[in-house]
């Protein structure tokens, strides 16, 4: 029992640190990547090649003057960024990071918890995330912040529907399990889900962009129209939490996309590689290689997120809603229908 608690505590700490570290360096990589796309060099002064920049940014955020507006609702004003940050981090609980490790006869999952409704948990926590923005923007008692908050919540609601339907199609075609671990193991046995769900992947990816408030869906913080959007009144580390949580969200979204559609910690010819290296099932090395593969995929998706951000201009709000309700929703329903039809004729589902 004590061993179990210690193992879970270590897992939680490790995943938490990985999320924070990855998000911190995603902020640096975002700036670097933007610079490379724009023929610049990006931050290069703090540390070797700018590697200490996230640290400097953090110190800056903490040292700045903190202002809580008199007209705001103080408790909710503080709750907003906290909630946003918490939900961003909590999402990582169901992501399987690597193959289970066998240490001294005990099998340890490289996942904080494998709940059998993992996908629904993901959707649920992701939609709680908007409460952070909503509460923060509303409690600010500022019209721009409120507009940003309203935009964020209506955008999230609009894009969660096609996302959910895309996920239903995915679950139908990948064996019917809602557990992320089983979805990944299923892809290990057969092939990555992207092969039979390309349209679903596209829908899910677009919705993930919208859910994380990344460009071209960053209307809640649209500075040309709303000053700073939902975080207009925020300063110091509270603002930092909002900005930082966006990067955590991006990291987790990438992890979830990689897990659901690209086989998570599996990669093509993994078993051949392991056999050639002479690694038995449950070896630490298999876990590490798998973790590396997952991280590579996550890095790729983070780059894709950034690449899109620094290429596409922001949507107009009616375009955003049109895309969500008139394009993605019918498209995801069509994808669902198509998936059900294919699976029915393959004999995988019966009525």
């Amino acid at each position: 029992m004590i061993a179990f608690v210690i193992y879970k505590a270590i897992m939680c700490a490790a995943v938490f640190l990985i999320c924070l570290g990855a998000a911190a360096y995603a902020t640096l990589w975002e700036r670097k990547f933007a610079a490379f796309l724009q023929d610049r060099k990006g931050p290069s002064r703090a540390g070797w090649g700018g590697l200490l920049q996230p640290l400097a940014d953090g110190v800056k955020m903490f040292m700045k003057e903190e202002i809580i507006p008199n007209v705001s609702n103080r408790a909710l004003f503080i709750l907003g960024p906290s909630l946003f940050m918490i939900t961003a981090v909590v999402t990582s609980a169901v992501v399987p990071w690597a193959k289970p490790v066998n240490i001294g006869g005990h099998i340890y999952d490289m996942q904080i918890t494998d709940i059998n409704i993992g996908v629904i948990y993901l959707l649920g926590v992701a939609s709680i995330g908007v409460y952070g923005i909503m509460i923060g923007g509303w409690a600010s008692n500022n019209k721009f912040a409120l507009l940003g908050a309203v935009r964020a919540s209506s955008q999230m609601i609009s894009y969660e529907i096609p996302m959910g339907i895309a996920l239903i199609a995915l679950i139908i075609s990948s064996g019917g399990s809602l557990s992320l671990k089983e979805i990944v193991e299923e892809q290990d046995l057969h092939y990555a889900n992207i092969v039979c769900q390309p349209l679903g992947f596209l829908i899910f990816f677009i919705c993930a962009l919208a859910e994380t408030n990344r460009a071209p869906f960053d209307l809640p913080e649209c500075e040309t129209e709303l000053v700073g959007g939902y975080h207009t009144e925020y300063s110091s580390m509270k603002l930092g939490l909002f900005l930082f949580a966006e990067y955590i969200n991006m990291f987790i979204s990438s992890a979830v996309i990689a897990t659901l559609y690209f086989g998570g910690y599996n990669f093509p010819f993994a078993h051949e590689l392991y056999a050639k290296l002479g690694l038995a099932d449950g070896s630490v090395w298999i876990s590490l290689i798998g973790f590396g593969a997952l991280m590579t995929k996550i890095f790729g998706f983070i780059c894709l997120f950034m690449w899109i951000r620094w290429t596409l201009p922001r949507f107009r709000y009616d375009q955003l809603m049109n895309l969500g309700w008139k394009t993605l929703l019918p498209l995801s329903l069509f994808n669902l229908l198509l998936t059900v039809a294919i699976e029915y004729f393959r004999g995988n589902i019966h009525f």
Binding site: A35, F36, L37, Q38, D39, R40, K41, S44, W307, I308, W310, T311, L312
Partner: protein, 201 residues
């Protein structure tokens, strides 16, 4: 009535399916941005790498000393008169006995100030100077936090005896010949013989 022949019929053609899909256009845009990933940025890492500058670059001024280490400036005020930005002010002092090693002639500049925020670095002070005392150099004026720090006094302008500043690139024969032209207003007070005693070219 037709006023001009520049009338254009607005083309409002239906978008094709590919155009309405936007994905090809997005892919095209993303390829353009990605192509910039492999371009070398034109950035110059300033303090470490410096852009090459012309040998006659006009930067921060220097008040020269002669070969014995005495200040050349005699506080004649020619530079202040020539200055179009009115950046130069000075007060004169009289050399006392025993100060011959400090000041070259009987009159010298007790204070000499250049307001670097007013200065336009045109180099007219250098051109006007009959004593070859003031030169613009290839040094850049440093950034300061306050305006008053941009008023450079003699402490910053006069070259240090042990750290002479090389202005030979500016003091070419052509420049010296130009200064000898009596026809030019600002050379009227100029004594070529006196100069040649000090400088052998």
């Amino acid at each position: 009535m037709q006023l001009t022949n520049r009338k254009v019929v607005v083309s409002n053609k239906e978008q094709s399916f590919a155009e309405r899909l936007y994905l090809p256009a997005i892919a095209k845009g993303m390829i353009i941005t990605a192509s910039h990933l492999f371009k070398k940025p034109p950035t110059i890492n300033y303090p470490e790498v410096k852009r090459p500058i012309a040998p006659v670059y006009r930067g921060q001024h220097v008040l020269k000393r002669d070969e014995n280490g005495a200040e050349r400036c005699t506080s004649c005020g020619m530079c202040a008169v020539a200055c179009p930005a009115e950046a130069i002010t000075m007060t004169s002092g009289e050399r006392k006995k025993g100060e011959e090693h400090l000041y070259r002639e009987e009159k010298y500049a007790a204070t000499y100030e250049i307001d670097m925020l007013r200065c336009i670095f045109c180099g007219l002070c250098e051109e006007a100077c009959p004593k070859e005392a003031i030169f613009l150099t290839d040094r850049l004026v440093d950034a300061q936090f306050e305006r008053k720090d941009f008023i450079y006094g003699k402490d910053k302008l006069v070259e240090k005896i042990d750290a002479r500043i090389d202005v030979t690139k500016r003091q070419t024969q052509a420049v010296l010949d130009f200064k000898k032209v009596k026809g030019l207003k600002h050379n009227e007070l100029f004594d070529a013989n006196k100069l040649n005693k000090g400088h052998k070219h």
